[in-house]
């Protein structure tokens, strides 16, 4: 403390307050790191994309291959994210509301995609469903190829993004316990009604965060998708794959325009989250623990 003994009105400092130099130093450090690692690269993406003007960037995005990449990415996310949301809720519900043997194994399995390299995950899918395997060969004969086609891309994306929703929900559901569900049951509600009217409203924010994270990762996934998709231009190249190919071909305006668009999609989800948070701030407070 900086007070001298002669000062008549001693200033009391709260126990958690730090001296000004420490506070300013910490804030400056965080701002610096954010600027170098996050803001600067974002700026570079957009400045490169618009290096030859808005019109050039816009025209690059009109190319048929890029349109196809954008569409493919959106379709894959639209399939993989809802499915993973359902699986994630089911898994979290199972783990937190019931006791059973092998629970620890299940939790480890859910976390597996975090520890396995996406490239390895993609290779596993190729080895399982490639055209020269039994299952894959049969599916190709039926006219439903998995590898080098949309189903494989969806499966690879789902594998990589599987843990996001469950991981977000499990701590929240553990903290909330089971008594509200039990109360609903004693009041005569069926299990399904209890889930819809009690469990789901209580986890909706965690679920939303999980889905947004899952979506961001699904649209950005590179490694696993690169292996299973075969990177067929205009057919199985998603946005991240197309960006890499364009960049390698020195088509920097197209590459960065597409990268900018992918970034914008991520920013839109973030914005959506913030808007919902502000709009429902009172509900958010009400659903916290009593």
């Amino acid at each position: 403390m900086s007070e001298t003994p002669s000062s008549h009105r001693p200033r009391f400092r709260s126990a958690t307050e730090e001296p000004a130099p420490v506070r300013i130093g910490l804030i400056a450090f965080v701002v610096l790191v954010l600027a170098v690692l996050v803001l600067a690269p974002l700026g570079v993406i957009f400045s490169e994309a618009f290096a030859k003007g808005w019109a050039a960037a816009w025209k690059a995005l009109q190319s048929k291959d890029l349109q196809s990449a954008i569409w493919l990415t959106l379709v894959v996310a639209a399939i993989a994210v809802p499915l993973n949301a359902v699986f994630g809720v089911a898994a979290a519900w199972l783990i937190t509301k019931f006791d059973f043997r092998g629970k620890a194994v299940l939790i480890t399995l859910i976390d597996l995609p975090f520890s396995v390299s996406p490239v390895v995950a993609g290779l596993c899918l190729v080895l399982m469903f490639g055209a020269n395997t039994m299952v894959g060969g049969w599916l190709v004969a039926q006219g439903m190829p998995i590898v080098f086609a949309i189903p494989g891309i969806v499966m690879a994306t789902m594998f990589v993004t599987f843990p996001f929703v469950a991981r977000e929900l499990i701590p929240v559901m553990i903290e909330q316990g089971r008594t509200e569900e039990e109360a609903a049951l004693t009041l005569g509600a069926s299990g399904w009604r209890t889930f819809l009217t009690v469990t789901l409203p209580n986890i909706r924010w965690a679920l939303l965060y999980g889905v947004l994270l899952c979506n961001a990762r699904a649209m950005g996934e590179f490694g696993a998708v690169a292996v299973v998709s075969g990177k067929i231009r205009g057919k199985t190249a998603t946005m991240p794959l197309a960006i890499e190919m364009l960049y390698n071909e020195y088509l920097s305006v197209a590459a960065f325009s597409l990268a900018g668009l992918l970034t914008l999609l991520a920013l839109v989800t973030l914005l959506l989250k913030s808007v919902l948070e502000i709009r429902y701030a009172d509900q958010l407070a009400a659903t916290r623990r009593h």
Binding site: T179, E180, E182, T186, L187, S190, T197, A286, H290
Partner: protein
């Protein structure tokens, strides 16, 4: 409703929560399950409510074997220790929940639900809090809303798990009288779990003293006070 517990036992894996216990509860009685933690009193209450199934033994409601009845079919008004109010619903929605959850044929019309909720709020002496959320209520108010929510389903019995456990001494005294009054007004067979011997002795018609998953003694409060059946009971009620 007359409740009979016939040789009910419960174990969770290797641990025994309840030895085989038997107990008859007359219709309309206000009964306390009294004992220290780990005595099996909450387990017994949850078995009655259908939230746990017994490892062996039977439960009879009005003479009919009801051991296999689901929690929904039992129609037991259950008040949880932490109240378990639905935190995202207003007081009105909380109390109306059980009525709205009924199958369409048995569900009262909207106006009737509103009328019943208002009546229950009068009964718990908290009119005019319909639009509040549980977080905006005091502990005592939450307990009473939980009671009203349990009563809304027109239960066949009222089961309360440590209903006064989370309240300060003054509110606790007031709500004891509140529970007695509601019991007398509804005539429901009411069973509450407590570890507080004063509470059990003051409030209940019949006190069931439990320890280590066994029933030590069943009797009227003055009988238990005057003639404790075992050394455990003597020690527990004078503590």
């Amino acid at each position: 409703m007359h409740i009979e517990i016939d040789e009910i036992a419960k174990s969770f894996g290797d641990t025994t929560a309840l030895q085989p216990v038997s107990l008859a509860i007359p219709s309309g009685a206000l009964v306390a399950l009294l004992g220290p933690s780990g005595s099996g009193k909450t387990t017994l209450l949850r078995i009655l409510g259908g939230l746990e199934y017994p490892t062996s033994g039977r439960v009879l409601f009005d003479g009919a074997d009801s051991t296999g009845l689901s929690v929904q079919q039992r129609r037991a008004g259950f008040v949880f220790q932490s109240y378990a109010l639905f935190r995202h619903m207003t007081v009105f929605e909380n109390i109306a929940y059980g009525l709205k959850a009924r199958p369409r044929k048995l569900r009262p019309p909207r106006a009737e639900i509103a009328r019943r909720v208002a009546k229950l709020l009068d009964l718990i002496q908290l009119p005019g809090i319909t639009d509040r959320y549980p977080t905006q209520l005091s502990g005592g108010q939450r307990q009473r809303v939980a009671l009203a929510r349990a009563l809304a389903i027109e239960p066949r019995m009222l089961l309360l798990d440590e209903p006064f456990g989370a309240l300060d001494a003054k509110v606790r005294k007031e709500l004891r009288h509140g529970l007695r009054e509601i019991h007398d007004a509804t005539g429901l067979t009411t069973i509450f779990v407590t570890h507080d011997q004063d509470e059990a002795m003051e409030l209940a018609d019949l006190v069931v003293v439990m320890s280590m998953g066994r029933i030590e003694q069943v009797g009227r409060p003055q009988d238990i006070r005057e003639r404790p059946a075992t050394p455990f009971v003597r020690e527990f009620i004078t503590a």
